[in-house]
């Protein structure tokens, strides 16, 4: 494991963009977490003296304010915090589901595997975003449902990759040894298969996070995600689009924030994939 990691770190350093991207991601996370301490404005106070004010250092609204005089610096950071949190939690859900599904299908094999893969095939043929839109509309717009439904979409690729890896692991001697030692199927999958697929899982997890952040902002943009007075980058962008001509910073600030965040996450994920040399399943 540690040899594997050393090798990977060395190759990751060789990729020119991945390390700066990682640093930028860390910077963004630090800003969203500790940024509110630098500025006394909060997300909900209405500053009637500065309604739709443009960004300035003088009145402490560094990124300007929106139509209701709410501070955009505070709201953008709060929105980014929500987006990142959903990105992490929903990714964790999709990893959990994808890894268990893929490992079970790959290890058991045969007819079960065939059936399980067929289900994935059908699901990935469907525009799942429509089902998520549906679920969020129909069963209310709770944030927990948002986590679950987004996570439920992200696991398909993960399951496919894990299954592919498991198929080759199953052939190895240590699995035969475990079977001979009397270990049950569940134990073998948990103790012997899953730890050995961790590399590709990490790579696809890093590529899943930006996808899910994108997805969440998309839903919030449509008005189906985070609800007022809460903010997410998507809902802030949607507000900004409406005020584009009069108050362009309302669009530019959250839009750039989301764009930079997604770009860095993608670059880092790509770099990690090249470094660990994981093939798409």
């Amino acid at each position: 494991m540690s040899v594997f990691l050393d090798d990977a770190t060395r190759r990751l350093r060789a990729s020119p963009a991945a390390v700066p991207a990682l640093l930028a991601i860390l910077a963004i996370v630090i800003i969203t977490l500790f940024g509110p301490w630098l500025n006394a404005n909060n997300t909900e106070t209405l500053d009637w003296l500065h309604v739709a004010a443009h960004p300035t250092l003088q009145n402490a609204h560094w990124f300007g304010t929106d139509r209701l005089g709410r501070d955009l610096y505070a709201r953008t950071l709060a929105g980014a915090r929500v987006s990142i949190a959903i990105g992490l939690v929903a990714s964790a859900i999709s990893i959990l589901v994808g890894v268990s599904y893929g490992a079970v299908a790959g290890y058991i094999g045969g007819r079960t595997d065939h059936l399980m893969m067929r289900i994935i095939e059908i699901l990935s043929g469907l525009p799942l975003i429509f089902f998520v839109i549906f679920l969020t509309v129909i069963f209310g717009r709770s944030e927990y449902l948002l986590f679950v439904s987004i996570g439920a979409v992200g696991w398909l690729t993960m399951a496919r990759i894990v299954r592919g890896q498991t198929l080759s692991i199953r052939q190895q001697d240590f699995i035969a040894a475990a079977v001979a030692g009397g270990a049950g199927t569940g134990r073998i999958i948990a103790k012997h298969v899953v730890p050995n697929v961790i590399g590709p899982v990490i790579v696809y997890a890093t590529l899943t996070v930006p996808q899910i952040i994108l997805f969440e902002s998309f839903l919030s943009f449509l008005g189906l995600g985070i609800q007022e007075p809460g903010a997410s980058l998507g809902s802030l962008i949607a507000e900004g689009v409406g005020e584009m001509e009069a108050a362009p910073w309302m669009l530019l600030v959250p839009g750039s924030f989301l764009a930079i965040l997604l770009l860095c996450l993608n670059i880092f994920g790509d770099g990690l994939r090249d470094a660990l040399d994981v093939k798409d399943a």
Binding site: F130, V137, I138, S217, G234, I237, N266, I267
Partner: protein, 308 residues
């Protein structure tokens, strides 16, 4: 080939049937109905409305009726847009969405393929790196950020193009939405082509073609391109799905009268028939696309035998 085509087409019917059924019962399981408004209707009026639309019947009878009218090609009346049938609503909006989508996918292919080929030919050069950076950017940044940014730049500040509007399909009005919609699939196609082209260019028959003294363009166009296109073919279904998804937001930002708005609005309004109609249209589109891709794939890669 023909037989394969029709077998697959017949195989799509159960898939469609399952999708319709799930959607139907999912919608009915949701709280609320199409006639719940902020100001509640008088109970008698509501009862009358529900009777008129057959909503007073048990759900499975409604389901049977709906399926029956579907078989006769009737998508039913819209519950929210009074005096319109779902067929009319979709019939009016669909050409707009279709035009937008076709233009976006054409743009993605026409620019993505040369871009990826170019990057592969200049492998590991500065031009390659630059192209691939553009590609990552295109993949990473969603169309609902790209379109407003483009609108701000070209519409509000430079006054070159209109920010929003339809104007019966005028190209000037469609330019920005099409670009925004095409960008993610374009980038993805370029990346796919670069990868497959690199692989193809390293193969023996390409070396032979060069050894014969064939010029670069004819090696690429006549020998390398076709096999390199195979991954792009299998990407076309996700590409169409991504463009359909993108059109939901792009149409609303650019104020285009497509069908994108009906899905979200219809679901919020509990406009059962409209949502079902949308789901049917989208699913059918993707299923047919998947079928076409299979045929295309068999043509691109002769090793693939259909129907075996």
């Amino acid at each position: 080939m023909t037989r394969y085509f029709f077998t697959r087409l017949a195989g799509a019917i159960p898939t469609l049937f399952i999708i319709i059924t799930i959607t139907f019962f999912l919608m009915r399981a949701a709280p609320g109905g199409p006639f719940d408004q902020e100001q509640a209707l008088a109970p008698e009026i509501k009862a009358n409305l529900q009777r008129a639309y057959g909503l007073d019947q048990p759900v499975w009878i409604q389901y049977g009726r709906y399926m029956n009218s579907l078989l006769h090609g009737d998508f039913g009346p819209s519950f929210k847009y009074k005096d319109f049938t779902v067929t009319e609503l979709i019939g009016q909006g669909f050409p707009v969405t279709l035009q937008l989508g076709v233009m976006a996918i054409a743009l993605a292919l026409l620019l993505g393929i040369p871009l990826g080929t170019f990057a592969a030919l200049r492998h590991n050069s500065a031009a390659d790196t630059a192209t691939m950076s553009l590609v990552v950017t295109g993949i990473a940044i969603p169309s609902f950020v790209v379109l407003p940014f483009l609108g701000l730049l070209f519409g509000v500040y430079l006054h070159w193009l209109p920010v929003a509007g339809w104007q019966s399909g005028s190209l000037r009005y469609l330019a920005l939405p099409v670009i925004a919609l095409a960008l993610p699939p374009l980038a993805y196609i370029a990346r796919l082509i670069r990868g497959s082209m690199l692989e193809v260019l390293g193969s023996h028959y390409i070396r032979t073609a060069f050894a014969k003294g064939l010029p670069l363009h004819s090696v690429i166009l006549r020998h390398a391109l076709k096999p390199a296109l195979a991954p792009v073919a299998s990407y076309l279904v996700p590409a169409v799905a991504s463009i359909l998804t993108g059109s939901l937001v792009v149409e609303s930002i650019a104020g285009l009268p497509g069908i994108g708005r009906y899905l979200v609005q219809g679901a919020i309004n509990r406009d059962y028939t409209l949502v079902l109609g949308m789901v049917i249209i989208y699913s059918a589109l993707l299923i047919v696309m998947g079928l076409l891709v299979d045929l295309l794939y068999a043509w691109l890669d002769p090793r693939v035998r259909l129907g075996e």
